[in-house]
Symmetry: C2
C-alpha cells in the first residue's frame, strides 16, 4: 500500500538523531535542506563522529539521552542489534507528544526490542525502513538527496496513533521519499527474498572463491558480470551479520526455497536437460526485463512530475 | 600466463568472420579501425543480418563456406553448440596457411567439436575466448573498442604451430586486447567458478521469485543491490543453456562446492552463530575489496600507458 504522494506541511521544532552516519546524517541533511526543522540534536557512542557531523552541518548540537525530552521526533539510525539498549536509555526521557521511529533493515525483531524497552510507551514507537543506501558509511557519506524517489516502508503497530504515523511519514516525505505501509512480518518476508538472501548468496560465492588455493588466479579472470553480482558482498559484515540473525527465520525459509531451486538445476545439468535449463533461464530473463521496464517507467514518471525529463 | 603487451605488426589480406553480431562484429570493426586487414568477409545463417552488418561497415562482403579458401584467418563467433556443424561446412575449403579461431565461452567442448570436424586439419584451429560482452546483441551492438583492455584467453592445442598462435594473438592485440594462455581444462574450471556459476545463481534467484504468487510485490521492493546481483540474469537464455551444458562437469563441481557453502551458512543461521556468519562475510568483503583495488590499479596503469590519466 502506497500513501498519497502529497507532501505534508508538518514541521518540527526539535529532532533527535541517534547515529549520525550515512542513514541518520542523510535524514538530517534532507530535513535541513527542506527547511522544516528548527534544531537537530545528534546522539552517538563516539563523540568524535558527532563532532564531524556537527562540523559538516548535519546536526546543530550534540546531546545525550536527555535531549529526547520535549523533542518532536527521534530517529534511531544505529545497527538493529543496538535498538533495544538504545531505547532503554531513551525511555526515561520520552514524554507524551514525542514520536520515535527507526531505520532498521529488519522489523519484527525491532518491534520486539521496542516492546521490551518501551513497555507502556510502545504506542510512541512507529517502526520504519528507508530503502536506500550507499557503499560508503559515516557522516561524510551522508547526502541530502539520498532518499529522493526512494521507498520508506512504515510497519505501524496496532497501538500507533494515526497522527504519529503521519508525523513519521511527513518527515520522510520532506526527504523526498515515497511512503509504503506493510506489517512487520510482510516486510521481513519480502526483504528476506529480495535483499537479505542475495547478500548472503554474494558473500557465500566470494568467500568460497577466496578460500581456494588458486583464489588469485580465479579473481584474475573474474569480469564485469562477477563484479556486479558480488557488489553487495562489499557491504559491512557486522551489519549483515546482525540483519541475518535478526531475520533468520524468514531468511532460512528463503534459503531453503533457493537451495531447492539449485537442486533442480543440478538435476537438469546431470541429465543434460537443455530445455529445462532454458525454461528457468528464460523465465528469469523475461521477469527481470519486465521489472526493469517498470522501474524505468516509474523513474520517467517522477522526472516528468518534477518538470525534468 | 600473460604475453608481452607489445602489439605485433602482422597484417591480414582476408579475414572471414562467421557470425557478425556483437562478438564477431566488434572484432571486425576493431581490425578495420586498426587498418590491418584488406578484406573482411561475413558468413552467417541469416542473409538479412549479413546485409545489416555490411551496411554498418562491419564487413566488406557476404560469403559462404568457400570464402575460407585462401583466407588468412577465420573467426567462429557463433553459439558454442553450433561450432562442430560450422567447422564441418568450412573444412573442405580450409587450405594450408589459413588459421581458424573461435570466441566461445567454453573450450573443452569446442576443442572436441573441432577435432571431430577438422580431423587432420586440427593443427589449424587455435581456440580462443575474448572476455568481453554487453547485454545487447546483433551487428548494431558491435563496438570497435569492445576488446580494448580486455583479456583474450588462448587455449592452444599441442598440435598448434607457434606462428599460428601468434597470428591469432596478433589479431586480438590489434583490437586492444591482452593475451592470456591457459589449457582448455584450466579455462573451463576457472570460468565455471567466476562466470558460469554466477549466471546460474542469478537466473535461479530471479526465476524462483518470478514463480511466486506474490512475485509482483517482491519485485516492487527489490532495490539497487538486487538489480546489480541479477544483471547477468538478463543474458540470453539460449546462450547460457549452451554454456551450462557445454561446461556441465566443471559447473557441477562448482555448484556442489557452493551448495556446501550454503549448507554451512544455513547451520550458522540455525545456531544463531553470529561470529561464524561474520567471519564468512568479512572474508568475502576483504577479498572483494582487494580484488577491486587490483582491477583499479591495472586500469590506472593502462590509462597511464595510453597517455591518459
Amino acid at each position: 500500500m502506497q500513501s498519497s504522494s502529497s507532501t505534508s506541511s508538518l514541521s518540527f521544532n526539535r529532532i533527535v538523531v541517534c547515529g549520525v552516519g550515512l542513514i541518520g546524517g542523510s535524514f538530517a541533511l534532507a530535513l535541513k535542506q527542506a527547511g522544516v526543522v528548527k534544531q537537530i540534536v545528534g546522539l552517538g557512542r563516539r563523540r568524535e563522529t558527532l563532532q564531524r557531523a556537527q562540523s559538516l552541518g548535519i546536526i546543530d548540537t550534540m546531546g545525550d539521552a536527555s535531549a529526547v525530552a520535549g523533542a518532536d521526533l527521534v530517529l534511531i539510525a544505529a545497527p538493529v542489534a543496538q535498538t533495544e539498549a538504545l531505547l532503554r536509555e531513551l525511555a526515561p526521557y520520552l514524554q507524551v507528544g514525542t514520536v520515535v521511529t527507526d531505520a532498521g533493515s529488519t522489523k519484527s525483531d525491532v518491534v520486539q526490542a521496542a516492546r521490551a524497552a518501551l513497555g507502556d510507551k510502545i504506542a510512541q514507537f512507529v517502526p520504519g525502513h528507508p530503502i536506500a543506501g550507499r557503499e560508503q558509511n559515516g557522516p561524510e557519506a551522508a547526502l541530502a538527496d539520498l532518499y529522493r524517489g526512494k521507498k520508506v516502508v512504515i510497519t505501524a503497530l496496532p497501538e500507533n496513533n494515526p497522527n504519529d504515523i503521519a508525523k513519521v511519514a511527513s518527515a520522510w516525505q520532506h526527504c523526498g521519499a515515497l511512503i509504503h505501509h506493510l506489517s512487520a512480518e510482510e516486510h521481513d518476508a519480502i526483504f528476506a527474498a529480495v535483499s537479505h538472501l542475495p547478500h548472503m548468496l554474494a558473500y557465500a560465492l566470494v568467500s568460497d572463491i577466496a578460500s581456494r588455493d588458486n583464489a588469485d588466479r580465479l579473481f584474475q579472470y573474474a569480469a564485469s558480470g562477477f563484479r556486479d553480482f558480488t557488489r553487495i558482498a562489499g557491504s559491512s559484515p557486522e551489519m549483515w551479520r546482525d540483519i541475518s540473525l535478526a531475520n533468520r527465520h524468514a531468511l532460512l525459509a528463503e534459503l531453503d526455497a533457493y537451495t531447492a531451486q539449485l537442486a533442480s538445476l543440478r538435476a537438469m545439468l546431470i541429465n543434460a536437460d537443455g530445455a529445462g535449463l532454458e525454461q528457468i533461464y528464460a523465465r528469469a530473463q523475461s521477469a527481470r526485463q519486465a521489472w526493469i521496464a517498470t522501474i524505468e517507467a516509474a523513474e520517467q514518471a517522477r522526472a516528468h512530475d518534477q518538470g525534468g525529463d
